[in-house]
């Protein structure tokens, strides 16, 4: 079985994150790049399945700037057999539709039985990409899974639905996305880091994938970007036995209760 994991590099949410106020794009200089947290869980799900089953091959795929290569290498240290990096100037500021088209084309090229992604990354949090890739590939999706079981023929799991929890099953080939309810990713050991250096890492341009970023199809464009004024601290008191009363008075005065 061949599993492709969608890997995303994001600005570290612990640090300051900025948008360029002219282009509206992420200011890449402003923050540290890290592997998206939920992506790490997606990789873990693939790697732990590969350890329990025969003949499982894992390909890690990322679309992103040059810097994504080091994130892919770090991710390879957790496990996986190969890495695939789509990098092309024309992808700067790519919208969701184009990104999904590119990732689907790369997944096709690599070959797949199962695609695993995180359900929403910490920077964009669109949460749309996995199902868009599924539609592009013409296969079933099972997104935002809080639990995941993989077998040679199918995937099963549970996810939140309207008014309850839904159990789902998809025959392979399929695309799944997982939530942060899945197990934590492992720390790559020294051995993993050494092995990762020798694993193949292939790069692709848009031409390699046969995708035209300037095709005349509807795109989402950013019209404006502005910085929201930071919130400031208001009144702060130390409890001297009457803070509950004082808070009640504050809330009543503000007419919020």
């Amino acid at each position: 079985m061949k599993i492709v994991v969608l890997v995303k590099e994001v600005p570290d949410s612990y640090g300051e994150r900025k948008l360029n106020l002219t282009t509206g794009l992420a200011d890449r200089e402003a923050s540290e790049k890290v592997l998206d947290e939920i992506t790490g869980r997606a990789v873990e799900a693939a790697v732990s399945y590969a350890e329990s089953a025969d003949e499982v091959e894992i390909a890690l795929l990322s679309m992103g700037p040059e810097s994504a290569e080091s994130t892919l290498r770090k991710t390879l240290a957790m496990g996986g057999d190969s890495a695939h990096h789509v990098v092309d100037e024309a992808l700067l500021g790519a919208d969701l539709t184009l990104t999904a088209q590119v990732l689907a084309a790369a997944v096709q090229k690599i070959g797949f039985d199962l695609v695993i992604a995180g359900d929403a990354s910490s920077d964009g949090a669109g949460g749309l990409l996995p199902a868009m890739v599924a539609e592009q590939l013409g296969v079933a999706h099972a997104t935002s899974l809080d639990s995941l079981q993989i077998s040679a023929e199918a995937v099963t799991g549970e996810r939140a639905g309207y008014g309850g929890t839904v159990s789902v099953q998809a025959q392979l080939p399929a695309v799944v996305s997982v939530t942060e309810r899945l197990p934590d990713p492992r720390f790559p050991g020294f051995k993993g880091i050494m092995q990762a250096k020798k694993k193949p890492l292939e790069t692709y341009s848009l031409a390699d994938l046969g995708v035209d970023a300037s095709a005349d199809v509807p795109r989402s464009i950013m019209l404006s970007v502005s910085q929201t004024p930071a919130r400031t601290a208001g009144e702060k008191i130390t409890d001297e036995g009457d803070a509950g009363k004082r808070l009640a008075e504050y809330l009543i005065e503000k007419k919020v209760v």
Binding site: K18, H141, S224
Partner: protein, 325 residues
């Protein structure tokens, strides 16, 4: 020019009621054009749900009734929205930014080759057409997006739009359930949530009380529940509280949980990590109770109390109850 159609996917709960996000979705749609609801309901539930959609502003409703509980994931709703799209040639499609809504938006966008606006917090119209407003990086930035051409498919953050549409007497058009056009996963089971309380939904509540790891135990977390009930508030939690098992994941507020924007947010025993702030810092008034005077939550709190939540909160509840009498 005639008003443009705006399709709105309105999820129906197993009980037959519309989900809480319906009012905001129709309110947003009315800011853009004529709200046209798309409903997929259980047998016998459709007409009542369509009327409810009308009360919230739907001028027209495309209704599909299923005899049995759905057995395929996303497909019934997706095909209903796609059929309504064919019939109405909409200028925009609004779906809730929840798991099912995102799946519908994603597949529809690829199928119709349309631009998408994910996690919008508002919508408006300019000279060129539909514009979606977004709040980025935990609301540190505000952006606006629009399609180069064609309809815009929008996933709308729950609770973000306060505008409400005027009630309408909807024209109801019945659609037959369509065969799925894409491969789909099957639904093998459904466990209905057993909600013990009648607390308002976290996403749309005017007041939210959240508890953190500082409440120390599942029993301690009961303090947040008591305050929520005294105030008629929705209940939330930090990730640390969820991880410790004090509260279910569905209550997690923050970057990887729910984003809320209530009139009042009260944080009990929550330190205020950036990832938590990302989900609540657009609340109108923020109150924090924390033992640690250095906790970052105080940087964004309008009223901060350095103290023990277990001493402050009971007094707060008592005082409010006394005032109410």
């Amino acid at each position: 020019m005639a008003e443009q159609n705006v399709l709105v996917f309105l999820p129906v709960l197993p009980s037959g009621e519309l989900v809480g996000s319906a009012a905001g979705l129709l309110g947003a749609a009315a800011q853009l054009g004529t709200p046209v609801g798309v409903l997929v309901a259980g047998a016998g539930q459709g007409q009542a749900a369509a009327q409810a959609a009308g009360e919230l502003g739907a001028a027209k409703v495309y209704l599909t009734e299923n005899d049995d509980a759905p057995t395929t994931l996303t497909a019934p709703a997706l095909e209903a929205v796609a059929a309504a799209w064919e019939a109405t040639d909409p200028e925009a499609v609004l779906v809730p930014n929840d798991i099912d809504g995102r799946d519908i938006a994603a597949r529809l966008a690829v199928r119709t080759s349309s631009a998408v606006a994910a996690d919008a917090v508002g919508v408006h119209r300019d000279a060129e057409g539909v514009v979606a407003e977004h709040s980025v990086y935990g609301s540190a930035f505000t952006t606006e997006s629009a399609p180069t051409h064609g309809a815009l498919i929008i996933t709308l953050r729950e609770g973000a739009v306060e505008a409400r549409a005027e009630a309408a007497q909807p024209e109801v058009i019945t659609l037959d359930a369509a065969q799925p056009k894409s491969a789909a996963a099957v639904i093998t089971g459904f466990a209905e949530n057993v909600e013990a309380s009648s607390r308002p939904d976290l996403r749309s509540a005017k007041i939210v009380v959240s508890g953190g790891r500082g409440l120390g135990s599942k029993e301690g977390f009961g303090l947040a529940e008591q305050l929520a009930d005294a105030l008629g508030a929705g209940l939330g939690a930090s990730r640390a509280a969820v991880d410790a098992g004090y509260a279910p994941y569905s209550l997690q507020v923050g970057q990887t949980g729910v984003s809320v924007a209530p009139d009042l947010y009260i944080a009990l025993g929550i330190s205020g990590a950036v990832q938590h702030q990302a989900g609540m810092q657009t609340a109108k008034t923020i109150v924090a109770i924390n033992k640690d005077p250095e906790a970052p939550i105080f940087d964004i709190a309008d009223f901060g109390i350095v103290g023990d939540a277990f001493e402050v909160v009971p007094q707060l509840i008592e005082t409010i109850k006394a005032k109410a009498q």
